[in-house]
Symmetry: C2
Subunit: 357 residues, 2 copies
């Protein structure tokens, strides 16, 4: 018998440890996790205790799925019918579902058609498994980071007085795409001047002007895994106040990174960033978490925030991205992607940060 | 009192017609529909019978949401707490939810914390409302189509013997981005030679060669609304067989488009395409639906397929995209975006199709 795909095996471990008959996955990211198949909506995967894992796709995806998938592929004609049929055929009584990523309508269908099935939420178990990356996942993320760094390089070379935010984003995205990025995992943010005060600013046709800072927040996707990096760049000389904000964010990021190692609370990493910003007098202007896990999705566990319950573990990959945002004035954010190790961490992104003067 | 945002008003009509106290929306596309706010996960909207519609966002989105949203904005600290609190405060007993786009975990939370609430599935009602576009939505889609046509133009100018699929995609996406596309709504497909036989081929580093056809399937996003266009381009002269496939698909598309008008079954449009391909001997090689609605999502109702129950209505915007796929050999697809009118249809995309010789 062929060895089982490593990531599918980790989900199988949940099936066994929770004494389930199978786990049913219906969302694109979990299905990709167990199969390596880059699908669209309308696919599902079954990890049954007593059979090989199965991927179900519609007819138009069948040939591609057979090429890409690391688990056995079946094609279906009707999604719901195939789902019910396969649960019934495999005599699954105890079924694990990721409630956080399963539309209520699917739960309803199962409860109606197969009233004897006992459903269990495995959202947390799956998220916990997905938090810790294996070597192959890490290599993909590192490649996605290398590609994103090419995007940052292009942005840095492009940002001058008179160019539009959109133009900078377009050039950075082109550079990532040509370097092998499968897609931008989130809309690239190029936010200049007062726009930089909005953490999730929408890149606009605004013209970048001398004396402004520009936040560039972008990511790439490589073999289904993403990166997420931010740099803040000044156009010519900026106010002393902006330099002070930049210094504060840089120090906050360093403090947070210093705190990272396996076994500590994610909230303690956040605390370090927040404490530094408080010392600089910017605590109230830091209006989001210090970071989050990355992987197949841009936002995965752990949450690196004040109220996070997550404990850092070896093999997690997290962003560290403190920021300071002053409405109508300016914003600063610096973000790296960091691997948690046993004794500390490894900063996976290498792009220079000292870009404001 | 301010006039209510037109799209929110349409959801309010569902609240009233189904005698609900409110509709709760938790997914990004429905929340955008009622608010015009381009958010990420972790936002929700309430359309209550007896209050103004409300958008809830986390702190980091508050300032941007106030600028973008067409409905009142509140900020929350804890998503679930805010959701439960607002349903309780507004004394909502009968709550409509889009079961298809609501994670089961949210339904669970509501049932646990507010056991007296009666939930109703309004998935179909919302999908039906969103199917028919108003003038503003149509203008956004048309602009997204104009931008996508610039991408097709760039692809057409770029496709030559020796270039990689990825390179063509990168250039087309750059051209769309610089023309104002907010994001590619789906991964651009550039599939050459045998790759073109996979309807959802992943664009690769494969080099395009003389004698091959290249399928280019791309879209743009403008003010949150998308386009979806496909052309098949030959590189130099192709086999007579490929020309025949192309002719068949072109005729099938024409036949389908001729059938479109308000009042007819979507399945009848599909039937016309399928019948034409059968006449050419390619019926079994057409392995997907003839089309689908577009709007905020790339795949919306109506489904233009064999088993569709949808009836076409004035104001729907659908794709018409028959295709023929012969494994290991080649594939052809031609896709336009079409507005359903009272007496027929208006083809919104204008890009030339005669690109195979």
């Amino acid at each position: 018998m062929q060895e089982m795909f490593q990531r599918a095996l980790k989900i199988m471990d949940i099936v066994l440890s929770k004494d389930l008959d199978c786990i049913l996955l219906v969302d694109v990211s979990n299905v990709f996790y167990v199969s390596d198949f880059r699908g669209y909506e309308g696919i599902f995967a079954l990890i049954p205790k007593e059979h090989d894992p199965l991927l179900f796709v519609p007819k138009l995806e069948y040939e591609r799925a057979k090429e890409e998938s690391k688990i056995h592929v079946e094609q279906y004609t009707n999604f719901s019918a195939a789902l019910i049929e396969s649960l019934r055929n495999m005599k699954c009584k105890k079924v694990g579902l990721c409630y956080k990523r399963t539309p209520h309508t699917i739960v309803n269908t199962i409860k109606t058609k197969l009233p004897n099935i006992e459903l269990t939420d495995v959202s947390e178990n799956i998220a916990n498994v997905r938090m810790v990356k294996d070597t192959d996942e890490l290599e993909r993320i590192v490649e996605a980071i290398r590609i994103a760094e090419k995007g940052l390089e292009e942005a840095l070379n492009t940002v001058i007085d008179g160019i539009s935010e959109l133009n900078v984003a377009a050039k950075a995205e082109y550079s990532m795409r040509i370097s092998g990025s499968e897609k931008t995992p989130f809309p690239t943010i190029v936010a200049s001047g007062p726009n930089a005060a909005l953490p999730h600013a929408v890149t606009s046709s605004k013209i970048v002007r001398k004396g402004e800072v520009v936040i560039v927040d972008l990511g790439a996707t490589f073999k289904g895994y993403v990166s997420d990096l931010t740099r803040t760049i000044s156009v010519g000389k900026v106010d002393g106040k902006v330099k002070d904000m930049f210094q504060a964010v840089l120090e906050a990021q360093k403090a947070a990174i210093r705190a990272i190692k396996a076994g500590i609370k994610a909230s303690d990493v956040d605390k370090e960033a927040r404490k530094t910003l408080e010392e600089y007098g910017y605590k109230e202007y830091f209006i989001h978490n210090t970071g989050h896990g990355i992987g197949i999705n841009v936002h995965e566990l752990p949450i690196v925030g004040e109220k996070s319950k997550n404990i850092l573990k070896q093999g997690m990959v997290i962003t560290v991205e403190p920021g300071v945002y002053i409405k109508g004035y300016a914003g600063i954010r610096i973000e790296d992607d960091v691997l948690v190790t046993k004794t500390g961490c490894r900063i996976l992104s290498r792009f220079k940060k000292d870009l404001v003067d």
